[in-house]
């Protein structure tokens, strides 16, 4: 059964939730039933999400200490989105996203040490210190960045899907972007071509409610149903509780199957929330403390998972504490690696400009 209601573009929308005409930020939770996880899956999801959370907290800390420069956009609060999607994906499926990319890299099994060392601008980072927080890539792990121009990755991700179709290799491009990027023109240029040519691409719209300081209700027409933005192109879309990793995985599985069946693109609007500011220098004055507090206390993806694990007796608090310890150790090791690694050799200034 479906965790969320599918909204085929050809049908009228079923007005899920929007009948309340409450446009305040909230995940699309409550009415949905997610596909249940096995015990192993719950534990797996929990650990993956916790790694992202702890990693990002550490990154924030290192930023405050001056080890990380420039822009640093944290993924805290949104962990369930990329975790659930990766749980549904196959080897060979690509991931491409914006500058809020640390979580995606960890979810693609990139090495936390290499990611953190890139944040600190060291030679041991994924881009040898030349990309930074927003620009990391791993062809080996099928992670295609890390892009700093809002919306650019949508066309690029559509191109990854084009390549999949050209090669007929059955892979799917999972193209992530925020609800802010959704208003860029090239998103619709991409929707048009993807639908026209039936490209295997899932547009994973991470609707975290705020494009920097602008609430989605101030930026997007019909902001309560962004999943529907592809409907004129015949692209099916659905709204997903992006705070529930099970709902995400279930929706991801449906979208992946659709793409692999040669049916073309699919839009998943993940209703999610970022707890931190847009970037480290954002005081987040555009929303109330209570709003953030409510999300943290009542919708946190990791806490939901933890409660399920404990309630079902899959693991007790002591075991979970051990997981936390293990993950903290991994993150601390990454931080240590990132702080002690060498800066790039000055000669690196002149390398990698051309092949």
């Amino acid at each position: 059964m479906a965790a969320t209601k599918r909204k085929p573009a050809s049908r009228g929308n079923s007005k899920k939730q929007s009948s309340k005409k409450d446009s305040s930020p909230r995940p699309a939770s409550g009415s949905n039933t997610a596909i249940e996880f096995t015990s192993e899956e719950e534990i797996d999801a929990y650990k993956r999400m916790l790694l992202i959370r702890r990693f990002e907290e550490k990154a924030g800390q290192l930023y405050g200490m001056g080890f990380i420069g420039g822009f640093c956009h944290l993924y805290i609060g949104q962990e369930a989105v990329v975790t659930g999607m990766q749980m549904a994906a196959n080897e060979g499926d690509q991931v491409i996203t914006s500058y809020r990319d640390h979580g995606h890299m960890l979810a693609c099994d990139m090495d936390p040490k290499g990611v953190m060392a890139e944040l600190t601008g060291r030679a041991t980072g994924y881009s040898r210190g030349k990309g930074g927080s927003m620009h990391m890539f791993s062809r080996e792990k099928n992670f295609y960045g890390g892009h700093g121009i809002v919306g650019a990755q949508v066309s690029l991700g559509t191109g990854l899907a084009f390549a999949n179709k050209y090669r007929d290799d059955g892979s799917v491009s999972m193209t992530y972007f925020g609800e802010g990027a959704l208003n860029q023109g090239q998103v619709y240029e991409s929707f048009n071509m993807a639908a026209l040519w039936k490209l295997p691409v899932i547009y994973v719209l991470e609707n975290n409610q705020y494009a920097m300081g602008t609430s989605v209700t101030r930026a997007a027409a019909k902001s309560e149903e962004l999943y529907n933005r592809g409907s004129v192109y015949g692209i099916p879309g659905e709204q997903v509780d992006g705070m529930d990793v099970r709902a995400v995985r279930a929706a991801g599985a449906r979208a992946l199957a659709h793409c692999r069946d040669g049916e073309g693109p699919y839009i998943l609007e993940m209703r999610t929330y970022r707890y931190r500011g847009h970037s480290m220098s954002d005081p987040a004055k555009y929303r109330s403390r209570d709003e953030v507090k409510d999300m943290r206390e009542h919708h946190d993806p990791i806490e939901q998972c933890r409660v399920r694990i404990v309630d079902a007796g899959v693991a007790d608090e002591a075991v979970l504490k051990d997981f936390d310890k293990e993950i903290r150790a991994t993150v601390n090791e990454a931080a240590e690696f990132a702080q002690t690694g060498p800066e790039p050799d000055p000669a690196e200034l002149w390398t990698d400009i051309l092949v």
Partner: protein, 454 residues
């Protein structure tokens, strides 16, 4: 009185065409809108419609006649009761409407232009030459590379079923099919991003822009996504892609369709920028560009598409990117140009050498990486340099070359470097103003004389 039907101009750059077929014969009645003939230009076969009503009198140009000049009478149309005249058919076109004269007084150019030929040094002994247009050379380059590498594909507006807006991709859909010759919607930003994404995953797209003016919509992907990713990824993620299309002024297409983007792209590390003049270079450089693992901006010129040059008739004719060509060795003055500006430079070289000035003419061919070694070696010999460019003067390629020559060969200079560039104005539409906005041969001759203190 009988109305003369004139050979129509079917594109801004058309000067002559072939009267392929008459669809009416003498004595037929026609009404306006009837198709009376088919005309072939170098780009396409077009139908000619009757404008007026009447009876076809004499047909003045037989079908199959080539090189019929625009505005030449091709038939007579008789009104009611008129008889076909017995006067002999005019054999030449009347003078075209006199273009309003510009303010500049052009020096008379009496000597023939110097003619570009492939460098013998680059060729195996005894290499045969074939005559080929730039258009056919570009087409051949793409076909050869697509036959050799299944990862290469062509994508752009009207490249497939329409056979190319400028017919560069003629016949390619038929040979390679719609999977590899891909018509896009009019969506430059989107399809450039899509092609760049495909390139990041390892394919080798050739992106055709109908003109580079439209690539401004897509320049974010060319620069931010294609040019910078290799560096930002610490060398992990290359982007083998060619962005090609018409660049610079054509003929009276106005300010939004006439810009020369060479300096824009030449400013960007991570890109290669190529701008050939001859068909031989167009073919050899495009093949190099397609094989290059980096993003290459390949700037063509609409006026050159239909021009014919000698191209070496060898299996795999390659011209390396980044190497200028010494078109004519000389001792007195270094003259540098590229793309369509070579037209003025070649004419000027013909005239100047006839006047006793021994010009060393260099076709730059690649703008980035710039072959400064060839230029500097020449300047150290001649002590004088003139650079010709069709684009704007400020922050232009000619200004860049002048600056570098001043920095790196100052002690060898006998005169300040001179530049002849397009005027610092948006391209006007009026024929006389457009002519004034572009460089011309007289200006080049004048500049060469000026640096020679003649």
């Amino acid at each position: 009185m009988a109305v003369q039907i004139l050979m129509p101009a079917l594109s801004p750059t058309m000067e002559e065409g072939t009267l392929a077929k008459w669809l009416v014969k003498e004595g037929d009645s026609v009404t306006s809108g009837d198709i009376i003939a088919e005309i072939e230009t170098d780009k396409a076969t077009m139908e000619v419609e009757a404008v007026d009503e009447g009876v076809v009198g004499r047909i003045l140009v037989a079908e199959g006649t080539e090189n019929v000049p625009v505005n030449a009478p091709i038939a007579e149309l008789l009104g009611d009761g008129e008889e076909a005249s017995e006067a002999p058919a005019p054999v030449t076109a009347p003078d075209p409407a006199p273009a309003p004269a510009g303010e500049t007084v052009e020096a008379p150019v009496t000597a023939p232009a110097y003619v570009s030929v492939p460098l013998e040094a680059d060729l195996p002994e005894g290499t045969a030459m074939v005559e080929m247009t730039v258009r056919d050379a570009l087409n051949a380059a793409m076909r050869e590379e697509m036959r050799a590498d299944a990862d290469v594909f062509l994508i752009g507006e009207e490249v497939a079923e329409y056979q190319g807006a400028y017919k560069i991709s003629q016949g390619m859909l038929e040979e390679f099919g719609p999977e590899r010759v891909i018509d896009t919607p009019i969506t430059e930003h989107g399809f450039t991003g899509l092609a760049t994404g495909a390139a990041l995953s390892g394919l080798k797209p050739i992106v055709e822009f109908m003109t580079f003016n439209f690539a401004m919509q897509a320049i974010d992907h060319i620069i931010n996504s294609a040019a910078k990713t290799l560096y930002m990824s610490g060398g992990q993620l290359g982007c083998s892609i060619v962005f090609r299309g018409a660049n610079g002024a054509a003929a009276r297409v106005g300010a939004q369709h006439s810009q020369d983007y060479a300096p824009w792209y030449a400013n960007v590390p991570g890109l290669k920028v190529v701008s050939p003049y001859s068909a031989a270079d167009a073919k050899g450089l495009l093949k190099s560009a397609i094989r290059d693992p980096n993003p290459v901006i390949f700037l063509e010129n609409e006026i050159l598409y239909g021009q014919t040059f000698e191209v070496p008739d060898i299996e795999d004719w390659i011209v390396p990117i980044g190497k200028a060509k010494i078109e004519r060795p000389g001792a007195d003055v270094t003259l540098v140009a590229w793309s369509h500006a070579m037209t003025y430079a070649l004419e000027a070289t013909g005239q100047l050498t006839a006047d006793g000035v021994d010009v060393e003419l260099i076709d730059l061919r690649t703008i980035r990486p710039m072959d400064m070694e060839t230029i500097l070696t020449s300047v150290r010999k001649t002590g004088r340099i003139v650079i010709v460019e069709e684009g704007w003067p400020q922050c232009g390629v000619s200004a860049e070359i002048a600056a570098r020559v001043t920095q790196q060969a100052f002690d060898y200079l006998d005169a300040p470097p001179a530049t002849v560039a397009g005027k610092d104005v948006p391209m006007p539409y009026a024929a006389n103003l457009e002519k004034l906005a572009l460089p011309n041969t007289a200006e080049v001759i004048e500049a060469v004389k000026s640096v020679s203190y003649r």
